[in-house]
Amino acid sequence: MSPEPLVNTAKYSTPELLFFAAGGIAWALAYMGVLREIVRNKFVEIPATAVAVNIAWEFTWGIVYRTDLGTIFVWGYRLWFLLDVFIVWGLLRYGVRHLQTPKLREYFRLSVGFAILAFAGTIYLLVRQGYDTSTGLVSGYMATLLMSALYIPQFFRERDRTPYSPFVAWCKLLGNGLVIGFCVLVYPENRFLQTLCAVTLVLDVYYVWLFHTCRVPRAA
């Protein structure tokens, strides 16, 4: 058996790999932006459910399954996972700030733990059932769509929107946009995936527009 290449140019063309790599870097930057806000302001801007589904996806695709894009990408997924571990830590530590109710705080960590396990189990089985691509993008865009949808009501609900980062908003849009470019090139026949991509893109563009038009503190 031949060793796994650093980048799988036998299956994917260079432009395809560049699209994915650039998108992946943009996502890593978005995660770093989120971490910076966690450290600076003790604020986790990613909605809790989205954090749970993200870490579950990265665990499943970074540790349990292996992308066929090449070794560099395998480690890229793991880097996402590692960054997300810190985001989950931030969520468990400071995420209760989103819930201003002491009573609900008692159940917050338990709910996050349950959600991570539930998402990890479903993603693991979805892949095992053969419903995913060899790069994990069907489950990945299901998770991303959920995140993009949840960002909007959470942004509206927040009284103080100043900790939300424009850097993260743009990196998220750019990261998704570039990986969508990869999907269009590599999976043109997978209409379900294309639909997930299109809806995610619409939501991300709307969020960026919303961000720049409404980023003023809501009246208490």
Binding site: T101, P102, T122
Partner: protein
């Protein structure tokens, strides 16, 4: 792609007791829909979460009209009956569904967001089935929606908190309807652990919802609900 059958009941592939089990499970959902409509007319408040309504009507449209049902034509008509019931629920969603939203900013985008949601879900489910990801009677896409709905029900009852706007009949009939369909799936799809996990998650969330309902009704959760309501404002 689901295989079209000209039979009213596909007894060559599914034994009669199983088809009855499926039919009774579906009937549980009809009871839930009727109770939702009655409760909405009485209270001018739609208890079923908006995110679930838009996904449901899309699923029923796709599976009622665009794809054949492997279980038989009778069940396609059953899905269409659901769809027409759900049209009433969608009407109420547009009429006073925005009361589910606490913030004026969210109320302002509520109706366009619902239209976008219905279209996006319909296209997504249509291609999900077209890619061959679903079973011949829509169980996987159906349970993805069901899990989401059951999770959203927990959020909405905590946020809204006025128990008289929620129906115990809905809580029980949706749990029992889904549970019977879950049993059906365990018998018919034993080699699809993804679907079975979705079934179990939905059941767990439905049971938590019923427990929460009784907990709130007993008065033990009064502080939790009033505090959550304050937060949602």
């Amino acid at each position: 792609m689901p295989v079209a059958t000209t039979d009213w009941f596909n007894t060559s592939q599914y034994p009669v007791p199983l088809l009855i089990l499926f039919g009774v499970g579906c009937f549980g959902w009809v009871v839930a829909y009727v109770a939702i409509v009655k409760s909405a007319l009485r209270n001018q408040f739609l208890e079923i979460p908006a995110g679930a309504v838009v996904a449901n009507i899309a699923w029923e449209f796709v599976w009622g009209f665009l794809y054949p049902n492997e279980l038989g034509r009778f069940f396609s008509w059953g899905y269409r009956v659901w769809f027409f019931f759900d049209l009433g629920i969608v009407y109420m969603l547009f009429r006073f569904g925005d009361r589910q939203m606490g913030l004026p900013e969210l109320k302002a985008i509520f109706r366009p967001a619902c239209v976008f949601g219905i279209v996006a879900w319909a296209v997504g489910i249509y291609f999900f089935v077209g890619e061959g990801y679903d079973t011949g009677y829509g169980a996987i896409s159906g349970y993805i929606l069901n899990t989401m709905m059951s999770a959203l029900y927990l959020v909405i009852i905590l946020r809204h908190g006025h128990l008289y706007d929620f129906s115990l009949v809905v809580a029980w009939s949706k749990m029992l309807g889904t549970a019977l369909l879950t049993v059906f799936n365990f018998i018919v799809q034993p080699h699809n652990p993804y679907l079975l996990l979705l079934c179990l998650l939905t059941l767990a969330l439905d049971l938590v919802y019923i427990g929460l309902f009784y907990w709130i009704r007993s008065g033990s959760a009064a502080a939790l609900v009033s505090a959550t309501r304050e937060e949602a404002r």
